[in-house]
Amino acid sequence: MGAYIVRRLLQSVIVVIGVTLVSFLALQAGGDPTYLFVSERASAEEIEATRRALGFDRPLHEQYLSFVADLTRGDFGQSLSYRQPAMEIVLEALPATIELTIFSMILALLLAIPLGVLAAINRGTAWDGSITTMSMLGQSIPSFWMGIMMILFFGLYIRLFPISGHVAFLSPLLAGDIGTAFSNLPRTLYHLVLPGIAVGTYSLARNTRLVRSSLLEVLEQDYVRTARSKGLPELRVLVHHALRNAWLPVVTIVGLEFGFLLGGVVVVETVFSYPGIGRLLFAAINQRDIPLVQAGVILLASIFILLNLVVDLVYVRLDPRVKLTGGRG
């Protein structure tokens, strides 16, 4: 397994470099970013001086190679708009998004499993119909609209939850300030409820359907029939025999979904004024702050790759048929 992990990590380096190249080219495709960093009254000489100062006067390949060379030294460059180390700014925003992602995924999983099981074991009944319909609705409602509606109802009319904002838990915890972290925790959770639901609803709906369909498929298998014919209680058949195998696709989706959510919660972060990495990168893209975008992209790509690896390893634990060869095929 060790060799497999090492091989996968080496492959990851190539993937990360590919990701940086694509994002670099995509940002450059929008034209010369210099104009975003000069006053509208700047003269041609001043524009040229700024272009030189920011390094945009060099050929593209030179800019990229210089970036990669700095990268190998652990230097992600300075954010052009914040004038501070780019990775520092990204890492500052990451904990808030991790809090939101974990909260929404826990919320989604805690509800998706019982709802999916309930729908599967009551296939064709009103339970099944209701849960399936609600799941489809959950997947159809745009998260920003849901966010705004929740703000109006829970934040403004019944005033049960805060409308926007964030109270940090992970940041002080990671900084070693355990007292502050845990004293913040109730307020952190309190501020996470509405954005967490807005983010988690889609996952909840999809996972519910996934658990349902996966369980339905497993329940048709011969070994389940065998378990039942041995006279095992239905609950034991469900939990010990069916659910364990139904987990496989769920684990895959959930693992990858965590990565998607980290970078993809930008709309919800905007609606709830949540200072996470999605909003930061969205603003950086608009500002063409290339070092900041690159730092964010590298970090998110690395997390995504790592999650993929973890999913693969968990798969082996869940399904003894799967072997980690790492070779072709």
């Binding site: 975003l36 700047a42 524009i47 914040y82 007292g179 200072p275």
Partner: protein
């Protein structure tokens, strides 16, 4: 064991307080909360460029003089100004007993250091001060004459130098000499009435009172990008002032009983530009707009009052040119909406309708999401222009990364929609957009000698009456044959909590010195 006990106690205390939070919407009386739409990127005085960023910085960094809501001159860190006979030396005398936020005395040496530091090319600053103020005034250097007198040297006589120097942030030499540029960006050591207490990037900035004229002990600037969320926070009583209220939410705020919307006619001039460059002249329609008669005809084609009423929910202040109305040529009146007159003038200019009803085709470019209801305003303008026979090829673009570079290259157009910030303190400030044919802000490439040949006379006129006469003559040329289709001064919408007495300014400055509890 102890490590576990402390968090547990903290959790319990937090839980108890959390249960009370939902009902605790009222702010403390010594704190005012302002909701901003854009994130703050820096507190480096040489890098600050956005209005929101500048509004916060204004409370941290003092300036020598400031401009009041109506453009009046107000002494701040300095009490007197002497301008040299040749107009290139501005000597300010500072108040005695000034201090920096680090406790050090603030002297003329600090001011000179701060101004020269911003100009230092080694620092590669690209904010408003080096990129706009220094460029506009031809900043040479600043020198301390003694402890209290500082002299700012500029290249040549400039009637708007005083107003522009008010935009420079005074910061403190000892502190900044000890900080790296990275550190300075997040740790401002200023001379203003408030100092930075905390900054949570993307979330909030908290300022603490240092001295008068601060009315509140704390100002909390919260970053709330989504307009409806800002409105909800205002109505819930969690925020006292919000900027950029969208017109559709005015009724909800006014009907809440908790806050009201103040609508002011801003100083930002909204217009459709005619890009008269040679490149554009070769594009479809680009040749037509070279003729001033065509440009004049189109002034009658757009129903600006209806656009304002329907899309901006207000009666706008109409523009007669590029100068705010207080300082404009008072003999000029806004062009009326008269499509018949527009058609007649277009016929006369040699652009009759063709068989398909079209006079000429032309491209119009515009950015999105920058100004109040801009996309709908642009769509309405296009419809009005098409009604008089133009065939418009509209290109709506992402503002920052696509439209801005076009503007800066001065290649947007042939028709383009834009709003540029203005001021109330000098007509020349507003006119400076088109100070030279090659100015970075002359996006139109307009080159009428009746305007540009008068510039030097106007700037150097010693007699104010002479200067005013020249200005009026120039503005008349701009009105009749200029490169802008004059629209309106952008209305600005602020939501203000009923617990606060505060009047919105027209120049987009949000100054909390002027706020108090009711």
């Amino acid at each position: 064991m102890k490590i576990r006990t402390v968090p547990l106690r903290a959790v319990i205390a937090g839980c108890l307080s959390t249960s009370l939070l939902a009902g605790c919407a009222q702010q403390s009386d010594d704190t005012i909360v302002v909701g901003l739409s854009a994130d703050i990127t820096t507190f480096e005085p040489g890098m600050i460029s956005s209005r929101d960023n500048a509004n916060i910085a204004r409370h941290i960094f003092g300036s020598l003089f400031t401009l009041g809501p109506d453009g009046e001159h107000i002494p701040e860190l300095a009490h007197t100004l002497e301008i040299s006979d040749d107009g290139t030396g501005y000597t300010y005398t500072l108040n005695e007993g000034l201090t920096c936020h680090d406790g050090e005395p603030l002297t003329a040496e600090d001011v000179a250091y701060a101004f020269n530091r911003i100009a230092d090319p080694a620092n590669r600053f690209t904010g408003n001060s080096p990129g706009f103020v220094y460029t506009s005034i031809g900043f040479r250097n600043a020198e301390a004459l003694d402890d209290l007198r500082v002299r700012v040297n500029i290249a040549e006589r400039n009637p708007i130098a005083f107003g522009l120097i008010t935009e420079l942030y005074v910061h403190c030499k000892d502190a900044y000499e000890q900080m790296s540029l990275d550190e300075a960006a997040a740790n401002p050591v200023g001379s203003g009435a408030y100092r930075l207490a905390s900054w949570t990037r993307g979330s909030e900035v908290v300022l603490e009172k240092v001295r008068e004229p601060a009315n509140f002990e704390r100002i909390v600037w919260r970053i709330i990008p989504e307009a409806s969320t800002r409105t909800a926070e205002l109505i819930a009583g969690n925020v006292d002032i919000i900027a950029n209220v969208v017109p559709e939410q005015v009724e909800a705020i006014n009907g809440s009983g908790r806050a009201e919307v103040q609508i002011v006619s801003g100083t930002r001039r909204m217009y459709v530009g005619f890009n008269l460059s040679e490149e554009n002249a070769s594009l479809p329609g680009g040749d037509a707009i070279q003729d001033p008669a065509v440009r004049r005809a189109l002034q009658y084609a757009v129903d600006v009052p209806t656009i304002c009423r329907q899309l901006l929910s207000v009666e706008c202040q109409r523009a007669t040119g590029l100068v705010n109305l207080e300082n404009a040529n008072q003999s000029l009146t806004p062009y009326p909406y008269d499509p018949g007159e527009a058609e007649r003038l277009l016929d006369e200019a040699g652009w009759p309708r063709g068989e398909d009803g079209t006079r000429f085709s032309i491209r119009m470019q515009a950015g999105q999401g920058r100004y109040v209801n801009d996309t709908n305003v642009v769509l309405a303008i296009v419809q009005y222009l098409e009604d008089v026979g133009l065939d418009i090829d509209l290109e709506l673009m992402e503002w920052a990364s696509v439209y801005t570079p076009l503007l800066r290259e001065r290649s947007a157009g042939p028709l383009f929609f834009l709003g540029t910030g203005g001021g109330l303190w000098s007509p020349i400030y507003d006119m400076t957009d088109i100070a030279r044919v090659g100015s970075g802000t002359n996006y139109t490439h307009w080159s009428d000698p009746r305007w540009f040949d008068r510039w030097s006379d106007m700037v150097n006129a010693d007699d104010p009456d002479d200067q005013r006469r020249i200005i009026d003559e120039m503005l008349e040329v701009f009105y009749t044959d200029g490169p802008w289709l004059h629209l309106y001064f952008q209305p600005d919408f602020y939501g203000v909590s009923n617990r606060i007495a505060w009047t919105a300014r027209r120049d987009e400055h949000v100054e909390i010195f002027e706020a108090s509890l009711r």
